[in-house]
Subunit: 234 residues, 4 copies
């Protein structure tokens, strides 16, 4: 289904994003080779995530990070040339996790749209259920730090949704694919954001999955087909 194991095979033949050009000042300063170094970097990233979720971006100071990570500021700057780079690294790591979840299995493409849509919705919610607070903060922090939000998740979502709309076009009402994609991804993201900040427990609620799936299918004009992945869509 949706998992990290098939990161390399893309069902829909979506082009992998290029190796992410890195400005010299913004990428991690050195790759930690020794075990100790690896542990340090991990501790720093973990501490950053923790503070971000606990105290928000404003409470995130390099000193605080170092302290919580149990290392010195110097060590932090040994691996990350700046606070910005540190956040970028965290974003990248987070995005990688999300992508692992959101990359569908190739075998799914033959499935009826209802099934696929439900899976997609569920995967999205699950992806955010990992660490909703972190996601929210990273979203805010990323922007300040110059990571365009598009890269964040949407790019993935956009490509995925567009591909689905095109593949299943015969079964759908006539759509302006561009606009529909924009709207679907926008609406989904908005939902996730709202659920995340107001009702995190819904991230794993099947009722919500159903309802969002229904919204999607109805929007694209897929009502007449009988049965969704779980129950009737009306």
């Amino acid at each position: 289904m949706y998992n990290a194991s098939n990161r390399s095979r893309s069902v829909l033949a979506l082009a992998r994003k290029p190796p992410t050009r890195k400005g010299p000042q913004l990428s991690p300063r050195k790759a930690p080779t020794q075990a100790r170094a690896r542990a340090t970097v991990d501790a720093i990233l973990r501490a950053t995530a923790r503070i971000l979720t606990r105290r928000g971006y404003d409470g995130l100071s390099t000193n605080a990070i170092a302290q919580l990570a149990g290392v010195s500021v110097g060590s932090l700057y040994q691996y990350f040339p700046s606070k910005e780079a540190l956040i970028r690294a965290l974003v990248e790591q987070h995005v990688a996790e999300l992508e692992a979840i959101l990359t569908p299995d190739p075998s799914l493409l033959g499935q009826p749209l209802e099934v696929l849509a439900r899976m997609l919705v569920k995967a999205m919610l699950e992806a955010h259920a990992l660490d909703p607070a972190l996601h929210r903060e990273l979203l805010a922090a990323a922007e300040k730090v110059g990571v365009p939000q598009k890269q964040f998740i949407r790019s993935r979502g956009d490509v995925l949704v567009r591909a689905l709309l095109e593949f299943y076009a015969p079964q759908l009402r006539p759509l302006d694919v561009e606009l529909a994609t924009f709207i679907i991804v926008g609406a989904m993201e908005g939902m996730e954001l709202r659920i995340t900040s107001e009702k995190p427990e819904w991230l794993t609620d099947e009722r919500v999955v159903d309802e969002l799936t229904t919204m999607l299918l109805r929007y694209v004009g897929h009502i007449s087909v009988t049965g969704t992945g779980r129950r009737a869509s009306s």
Copy 2:
């Protein structure tokens, strides 16, 4: 229709939010009674909004605000006990403006849902078209300053949408009103946010209004009814 002139009459009998008297430290220090004082407060709020949109929350310093407003920092602190209070005041003002736009005319309630839905969508987009950048920044700033996002706009939207869902229930598919309200408002907000930051020109694009209206109506099961406010919904 939807405009600032009927700020005082609430079509759908939505409860006015209480006069918002909060903690002693967070509300404006003194009610500006004289005209000059009122002007000063306005200047400060305007300056704050301006800097917020131009340079973001990080570029927003009390000294900069005072300077742009043409007053001294001392004066600023005479009217606002803290930066936080200042932002709260700005948020309140902004919310008031949005509400003015989003409060529908009583006579509309009899109209067919298609018409009302379209108006609602249009009003939402228009509301954000006022100053999308400010809206986005305020959204972020508000959170930092402790204004829960709910209060922001959603509470308004929630009440409104719930009322509509209940009023038009007979024409709709069976819905969990709570959940549907949450989803509709969340999706709409997500859309607005995305449009605002990625395609601001769409805030006034009729195609987008149509598409969102369609999404709404289809979601609530209002498909079979012929014609939306403007054109066929498929």
Copy 3:
């Protein structure tokens, strides 16, 4: 003779240097209008000079300056946008003092070269006798901070010396004025620097004045003329 009182009348009709283009980031942040502010600025500049002479450029930290000046770092940055700007300001003040000393009286131009040369040498030494240590440190600091050394004193010296060489040309051996000016000013400066750092007491020693004057006059081929300002030049 040489003093601050005739700063505005330039004997040799030397063009005043233009108002010194100031980059926005490098000039003092605000002109202190209130008396208290003036005092603060003065204290800061004095403290800077003091630390510079006592502990050198490396011992010069903005915190140390503020502390010695008896103000807070914040105040320092209120008037000087950066450490660099602070040093620039100090340099300017110092240069102004030096120029006041080095600007000759118009009536001197008729005098025999021996007299003028001696006065020039004496003035140069006196100028540096003001605060030799500060001069030396400013010279080093200025470079790091981007003040071209030329501006420092040399520009003045160059123009002055060239003018003299041209005016008295008939009495001198044939000279490449350009080269000779460069050499004379360079040699004088080198002397000053060496005296300053190794034998500051010589800055006011008449024997040294005599010897340097002799060197100058002999170099330009003015030996045969009888009598210098004080005694025979050989």
Copy 4:
């Protein structure tokens, strides 16, 4: 003439400076006995010189040095107990090179003063032409690190010039040898410094050599003698 080959024979019987065994903390930590160690030390010194000229004293960090030298910081500290010691070592090496250039051949002492003076001037300029930038930076760095400038080069120049003044005294005007030596060396150094920083191309210009030689000879009263080393002195 003046070259590195006769480093061991001192024409004018100038006392060699003692082997320089200073405070225990400031001299190289261990005498590198093995070839590899020698190579390491060389690499470190070369890297230091390089960074010094490329990025100045402020850009000189021990970590940067180690990296450029291709060794670890640890190794650097194995051979030099501190950054200060490292700079001292570099200064010493540089001074040794300069001395090699500035130590005249014994056979020259019989030559007419004009010839010798010209050679001296030329050798001085050539010495600095080796690496003017390095020289300038070392001059500044040395002071910070406590190497008194006297030791730097001047001591050499002083001894040399004093010896010449005494040897040729009969042909010169009556001089206070002490003072004259001080002045000559000071002026020469000042010139070098100025040329180095403002007109490095003049370091090898014969016109400049002539002019400085002329200045020297005229100053010491050697005018009447016909002909300098190259052309007439006026």
